[in-house]
């Protein structure tokens, strides 16, 4: 029957505009569900979409925490100026599991520019 094999649901996070570079400015891109009656949830990153608003070629780091407490979940993802970037199973993105709210930041940004990011996450538990 395999009734329980797909014991996960896919949830799309909010579209977040990252207008400041560096770990100190890491923005929440997917919040861990909280305040539930029962159960510990975890998040597996399934897809990452980036749009680089003429910010210059740079990389985006995705992890947990902010500033000195930031810990990356994935290697840096390329974001090329003026281009859309798509990462997912087709590009061998690892669905790394996180038990905390996911944050992200661009390593560098041109003045007055930004990068848009949106995550699709598999919520487990």
């Amino acid at each position: 029957m395999g009734l329980l094999v797909n014991d996960r649901i896919v949830v799309v996070g909010p579209l977040v505009n990252m207008a400041a570079a560096g770990a100190a400015n890491a923005a929440v891109v997917f919040a861990l569900p909280a305040g539930q009656l029962r159960g510990t949830k975890s998040l597996r990153i399934h897809r990452v979409n980036l749009y680089n608003n003429a910010a210059g070629n740079t990389t985006v780091l995705i992890g947990n925490g902010v500033a000195g407490a930031f810990v990356a979940l994935l290697p840096a993802l390329d974001s090329f100026t003026g281009l859309f970037g798509a990462y997912g199973p087709e590009t061998d993105l690892i669905d790394v599991e996180s038990f905390a709210t996911i944050t992200a930041y661009p390593v560098a940004l041109g003045v007055g520019t930004s990068i848009d990011i949106r995550l699709e996450v598999i919520v487990c538990g």
Binding site: M1, G2, L3, L4, V5, D7, E97, F99
Partner: protein, 194 residues
């Protein structure tokens, strides 16, 4: 009532072992309780326990699954599986190993959803507050952030046929003799040997 037995491999995940008005015999350790079901309801899948973080190559302490306790006069029927990659040893009650073979206490892991998709072999019953307990074994060289268990099943409220308002000595006699049908439900493990 040919369909009233435990460990059923039916279409769908889990069927009740007794219906409204049917008789059961609850076995807990060496005790037997003859009862009649007067209410039942399904319990949707839920996370019954998170043992918590578990270091690499480590075994957790034995942890009671208090969320599977039932109220007085009730028993629960549950099938369950882990969603984190640990092997789980079951005890029921906490001092009694379940799934005990002569040389191995068989553990349960995430592969159960592929190997036994209806979770038939995981079925346990819980009588009142006599809950089971588990230990988790992390065989990985990395730590696990959580070891979570999901359970699904039924809740049964029962009436006492051996004493009190609903006592019926004649009925119990017929149930014991096998003259009338009765579903036997094991709500604990059993020591090997003997």
């Amino acid at each position: 009532m040919p369909d009233l037995y435990i460990f059923k491999a039916q279409v769908g995940l889990v069927d009740p072992v007794a219906l409204q008005g049917q008789n059961v015999c609850i076995h807990y350790m060496l005790k037997e309780y003859y009862r009649k079901v007067d209410f039942l309801e399904g319990i949707p899948p839920f996370q019954c326990l998170n043992i918590g973080a578990l270091a690499a190559l480590n075994t957790s302490g034995r942890t009671d699954i208090t969320n599977l306790e039932m109220p007085d006069n009730e028993f629960g029927l549950f099938r369950w599986y882990p969603i984190d990659d640990a092997q789980i040893r079951l005890y029921h009650p906490s001092g009694m190993a379940k799934w005990q073979l002569r040389n191995l206490q068989v553990p349960l892991d995430m592969n159960i959803v592929n190997r036994d998709p209806n979770l038939v072999s995981t079925e346990i019953a819980v009588w009142e507050d006599n809950r089971p307990a588990v230990e988790a074994i992390n065989g990985h060289a990395v730590a696990l952030n959580a070891v979570r268990l999901i359970a699904i099943g039924y809740r049964f409220h029962t009436l006492d046929l051996e004493s009190g308002t609903y006592a019926n000595a004649d009925l119990v006699k017929q149930l014991k003799s096998g003259a009338l049908p009765c579903t036997h439900i094991w709500c604990s493990g059993r020591g090997i040997g003997g």
